[in-house]
Structures are given as structure tokens and as C-alpha cells.
């Protein structure tokens, strides 16, 4: 570190929102350069992509195990990371966002306000002087705009105390700058969706191992995922969800042959294993003496006709899809039976059943 600022003398402490992406990592690093004691917080909403997808599907040969980007960014920075589970509180953000959704079911502005407010609450409790984020003006269409930054600051109750080091030169001065804790001249004025200035800064700080910016971090911005969530809400007549619900939307092939029930069918061994952890309260269908998926049937599963249809669909995705008959084990509420069904032919499974 060079040219220590007054922050070192007064031991100024800042708490940053760290996603583990390049921007939030650079924001932390810029402040550390000024001698500010930095710690970070990462919020678990239940919808984080990076933390789940790699763990559900079969790993690709030679691929590294999945990792939690914020943890590894904190390790690279050498700072403490507070990991906070906000998934319960987050339900109301997802189901009823004051500022609405983005392109899919992403309540980005409400989400940011919620996280900033939480971070500020923690900062005050833990004795940090201010909070910071890696936001860049104009980078995200919903939450990182000139007109939304003041909304975030106002509604999170943090006006003047949230510093955005990467875009600070394009923003009004914040309290940490006014008080001389942070040297504004050593902050940046990045804007827009381009990544070149960030990558140049990363090179300057010798940061190499950061996630791809194209990655997106939230399932709620994913079209396929949100289609499944909309389906769940539509057929339940309400917008509530449990952690099991949102986890199950991430795995398997989802098929809704009737409004009152849905099937979740594993696409590989790892997904079968994953789905197997959600047997409780659902009908479980598995092939006998034949390779095939684990299928979960959810909803009103009481009708024998519906169960038969579910079994025929499950058989269709097994190695016996071209056989006349396939044996399946059907389990529900501690009772199991063996049934024999003819796999459903492809032409009897219309596209619109796929969620």
C-alpha cells in the first residue's frame, strides 16, 4: 500500500457488500489502498446461482468443484466476510416488490434497498463507520442508474453513508469523503456497461481469479427459472414459497400434465440424488431393474389415473422408453408398490406440459 491517508491514524472501518464479482472486490480494494479497515457482508437470498447450480448437476470431467465467489474474494482480499442468511425475510421482496420486477421476476431495486438497509444496520451494530458497494452508474438497467441511486440511499435510510468507490466521482460527495476519512481523489468515476476500466484496475491490483462478468448472480433474472416460479404461483393461487420450493425449481425436468399436479424428473445421477432429498410429502417414482430417473410427483396426487399418467411419463425418460412395459416403484407416505406401465409415447406428451 502507498500514501496512507488519515484513515490509518483514526482506524476508520468500512463494511462492504461483497458479491464476489469483480466490481465489489475492486471497491473493497480501493478503500484498502487508503488504509481503511475493510470487512464485507454477503447475503444469502436462496436465489444465488453460483452457490447451487454446480452442486446439483453431475460435474464435468476435470472441472473444479463449485465455489462461493464472495468467500474466495474475501480470501483474496484478506478481509473478514459476514455471511448472512436473509432468505426468510427475502420472501416479501420477491412476492411483493414495491418497485416492481425487471425483465423476469427480478426485484433488483427492492433487493438492493433491502440489502443496503441490512448492511447499514449491521455496520452500526458492529462499529463500522460507513458502508460501501461495487455499484457502477449505468451498469445495471434497474438498480444502477442515476435516478435509482438516490432512491436506494433514501429508502434504505443510508443517505450519505453509502460510498460507491468505483463511480464516486460521478456522484455527490458522501459523508466519509466530507469528513476526510476517504480521499475522493483516489476514487474512480466509472460508468456504463463496459468492463475495460475495471479490468485495467484489476490488473493494477494483480487480481486475476475473478468470476466472469457475464455470469449473472440471481436465479430471478433467469427466464427458465422464473417461468417455473410463475407456474408454481399460478397453480397454488398464492405467491408464497418455501426454501424447498425454490430449491426444487433449480433441478430436474418440470412437467405439468394437469393443473393440480407437477412432476420433477432428474436428468442425471446427481439430480436424482438431489431430488431424493425432497421425498417428504411427495410421491416418488423410480424404475426397477432398469436405469432411469427419480421422479417426484407434487400437488394433488390422490387420483389413481393421475398416478398412472405420472408413471408413464417417468417411464418415458428411462432406458425402457421403447419397451412395451416398464416396472416402477411408487412410494408415498411410507407405503410402496410396484407397478407396470407402458411408457408414454413422445407424441402424447405435448410441449406445453413442459414448464
Amino acid at each position: 500500500m502507498t500514501n496512507p491517508s488519515p484513515a490509518i491514524e483514526t482506524n476508520i472501518r468500512a463494511l462492504g457488500l461483497l458479491s464476489g464479482g469483480l466490481d465489489s472486490t475492486l471497491a473493497a480494494r480501493l478503500l484498502m489502498e487508503q488504509g481503511i479497515e475493510v470487512a464485507c457482508v454477503n447475503f444469502h437470498t436462496g436465489f444465488c446461482i453460483q452457490s447451487h447450480t454446480g452442486a446439483i448437476r453431475n460435474p464435468k470431467v476435470g472441472a473444479s468443484p463449485p465455489r462461493h465467489d464472495a468467500l474466495h474474494a474475501a480470501k483474496t482480499l484478506g478481509v473478514k466476510l459476514h455471511m448472512v442468511d436473509i432468505s426468510s425475510d427475502y420472501v416479501r421482496i420477491v412476492t411483493n416488490p414495491k418497485h416492481g420486477y425487471g425483465k423476469n421476476l427480478n426485484p433488483c431495486l427492492d433487493c438492493k434497498i433491502f440489502m443496503v438497509a441490512k448492511a447499514w444496520e449491521m455496520a452500526q451494530k458492529l462499529g463500522y463507520h460507513f458502508i460501501f458497494s461495487g455499484e457502477v452508474l449505468g451498469q445495471r438497467p434497474m438498480s444502477q442508474r442515476r435516478d435509482t441511486f438516490p432512491v436506494i440511499d433514501r429508502e434504505a435510510g443510508v443517505k450519505g453513508w453509502l460510498l460507491r468507490p468505483l463511480t464516486a466521482l460521478r456522484m455527490p460527495e458522501t459523508e466519509p469523503e466530507r469528513r476526510g476519512w476517504v480521499d475522493r481523489n483516489r476514487l474512480e468515476g466509472f460508468s456504463g456497461r463496459g468492463r475495460k476500466p475495471q479490468m485495467a484496475l484489476a490488473k493494477k491490483f494483480a487480481l486475476k481469479d475473478y468470476p466472469s462478468p457475464a455470469g449473472g448472480c440471481c436465479f430471478l433474472t433467469d427466464e427458465n427459472y422464473t417461468r417455473k416460479l410463475r407456474d408454481l404461483w399460478a397453480y397454488r393461487d398464492n405467491r408464497d414459497y418455501s426454501m424447498d420450493d425454490i430449491l426444487l425449481l433449480k433441478a430436474g425436468r418440470h412437467i405439468r400434465p394437469r393443473p393440480h399436479f407437477k412432476l420433477m424428473i432428474g436428468r442425471d445421477q446427481a439430480e436424482n440424488q438431489f431430488l431424493s432429498g425432497f421425498r417428504k410429502g411427495r410421491v416418488v417414482i423410480q424404475t426397477v431393474n432398469l436405469a432411469g430417473p427419480l421422479t417426484l410427483m407434487e400437488g394433488d396426487t390422490s387420483s389413481p389415473e393421475d398416478r398412472l399418467l405420472a408413471c408413464r411419463i417417468a417411464a418415458r425418460y428411462s432406458k425402457g422408453k421403447d419397451m412395451d412395459k416398464v416396472q416402477l416403484k411408487v412410494e408415498h407416505a411410507g407405503v410402496s408398490e410396484i407397478v407396470e406401465v407402458s411408457p408414454l409415447p413422445a407424441h402424447e406428451l405435448p410441449d406445453h406440459w413442459h414448464v
Binding site: G54, A55, P65
Partner: protein
């Protein structure tokens, strides 16, 4: 095998829940206390060592058997 004070069974939970549950368990221990963590999310292989390092805990063991990882973490002083 290693002795421990608390066991966290995070089998079936996805990252970062195994770490969050370990963190919660650690809160009730004094420095030097040990937690045994059971997990099935492969992310634990990279995440647990990183988490221990930045929080000053010691990862005494991390062993995979079948689909399950067993770890012993000693709380930092």
C-alpha cells in the same frame, strides 16, 4: 477419529448453508472448541478451507467418503 464438541449435519443442503450452519454452531463455542461438519455439497471442498482461513479457524480434517464430506473445524481463539 477426531473428537468434537458439536455436530452439524448439513447433508443435502447446498452452499452456503453448510458454512452458515457451521458458523451458527461456532457461535456457541469458546476458542478451541471443535465442530464436526457433515456435508454433501461438493462446494465444501473449496469453501470450507477459505472460510476457515478468513475467520481464523483451523481446518483439522476434511475427508470425503462416498458422497459425503466430513470435516473437523477448530474455532479460532
Amino acid at each position: 477419529m477426531f473428537e468434537f464438541d458439536l455436530r452439524v449435519d448439513a447433508c443435502g443442503l447446498l452452499c452456503p448453508m453448510p458454512i452458515l450452519k457451521t458458523d451458527q454452531a461456532m457461535a456457541s463455542l469458546s476458542g478451541g472448541g471443535k465442530v464436526q461438519l457433515l456435508a454433501t455439497d461438493p462446494g465444501i471442498e473449496r469453501d470450507l478451507p477459505a472460510w476457515c482461513e478468513i475467520n481464523g479457524h483451523t481446518l483439522i480434517a476434511l475427508v470425503k467418503k462416498g458422497r459425503t464430506w466430513t470435516a473437523i473445524v477448530e474455532k479460532g481463539l
